[in-house]
């Protein structure tokens, strides 16, 4: 067992252990914070695997951006800070069985398939220079398509989260056939007309 394998085993134990804590803890905020530990340990694993650029992108995007987004989501949904009793649904034993079966099958396949394969770890294999050349020479078309996808998801997130855009823009096509809504699908000026049927639709609307 070489030094790289020892370091990777420690990082892997940290990543898997904190991932298990993410899915079993009773506090929502702690789940997000354990996710930081898990992703950080995975970034360390990428460093051991000589994928430096991926490691730093992981730190920047996952630990920096995604966790902050998740924390904002926890905050905006007014989750309780302390322990909450009902974070697990009723089918957790079935879920445990399914995930144990998944783990058994995957670990068995991986260990039996790659039992005596070793990989060469060569420094600089995943540096920013190599990856930049690969992205902008070979994979430049998927890169551009991905930027369009990011733009589309950004527009989608804005449209979903703004509530003052007209009903033509942010509702599913099926909603257009509602009486009273199809004539109003033009603009914002009729918003008061369809707030009124919406008010008795949303539960718990009267208590705030």
């Amino acid at each position: 067992m070489s030094g790289q394998e020892i370091v990777f085993t420690l990082l892997g134990v940290a990543a898997v252990g904190s991932a298990v804590l993410v899915v079993t803890t009773r506090r929502l905020v702690h789940a997000a914070l354990w996710l930081v530990v898990s992703f950080g340990a995975l970034a360390g694993g990428y460093l051991v695997l000589t994928a430096e650029f991926v490691a730093w992108v992981q730190v920047l995007i996952y630990v920096g951006a995604v966790i902050v987004l998740l924390l904002f989501g926890i905050m905006l949904t007014r989750a309780p800070i302390g322990e909450s009793a009902d974070l697990d649904s009723g089918n957790r034993w079935a879920a445990l069985a399914v995930s144990a079966a998944t783990a058994a099958v995957l670990v068995t396949v991986m260990v039996m398939g790659f039992r005596d394969e070793r990989m060469p770890l060569r420094a600089g294999g995943g540096s920013a220079e190599e990856l930049g050349a690969a992205v902008f020479r070979t994979w430049v078309l998927p890169f551009e398509v991905l930027s369009v996808l990011l733009l589309a998801s950004l527009v989608g997130a804005i449209v979903l989260s703004r509530s003052d855009i007209g009903p033509g823009g942010d509702t599913a096509p099926g909603d257009g056939v509602k009486p009273g809504a199809e004539t109003a699908s033009g603009g914002d000026g009729v918003r008061g007309a369809d707030v009124a049927p919406g008010r008795d639709v949303a539960p718990g609307q009267g208590e705030d």
Partner: protein, 123 residues
């Protein structure tokens, strides 16, 4: 390095994510578990990229793409979760059964049609 170490770590991470998706009730926790599964896939991609010594670095570049897609997914997912929260005042996945089949037509449903986003600014 032996190939079994990263692949076993990836498999265990993936099954932790599977457990989280199936067992958790809060929608944000389900999103976190999806992120765990995506990270397991990323670890596999990087591992096999290093193993094949891919000159085009397909695995690592695809890992970057997956990270970007995961960021887009969590952004959209949180937007949807916040929309559900504004309309229903809760994000328990077990109780969001408006799209379910007929067998629970007897139970009191929280909303007769799918609640519109415009119901929000009545607050």
């Amino acid at each position: 390095m032996h190939l079994a170490y990263p692949t076993v770590v990836a498999a265990l991470l993936f099954s932790a994510g599977v457990y989280g998706v199936l067992a958790r009730r809060n929608a944000i926790l389900v999103l976190m578990s999806v992120e765990l599964m995506l990270n397991a896939v990323n670890l596999n991609l990087v591992t096999f990229d290093v193993w094949y010594r891919d000159r085009l670095h397909g695995g690592q570049v695809l890992t970057l793409f997956t990270i970007v897609i995961a960021a887009a997914e969590v952004g959209l997912g949180l937007a949807i979760v916040l929309l559900v929260f504004r309309n229903r005042k809760m994000i328990d996945i077990d109780r969001l059964r408006t799209l379910a089949e007929e067998e629970d037509a007897a139970r009191p449903r929280p909303a007769e049609p799918e609640a519109e986003p415009e119901a929000v600014d009545a607050r």
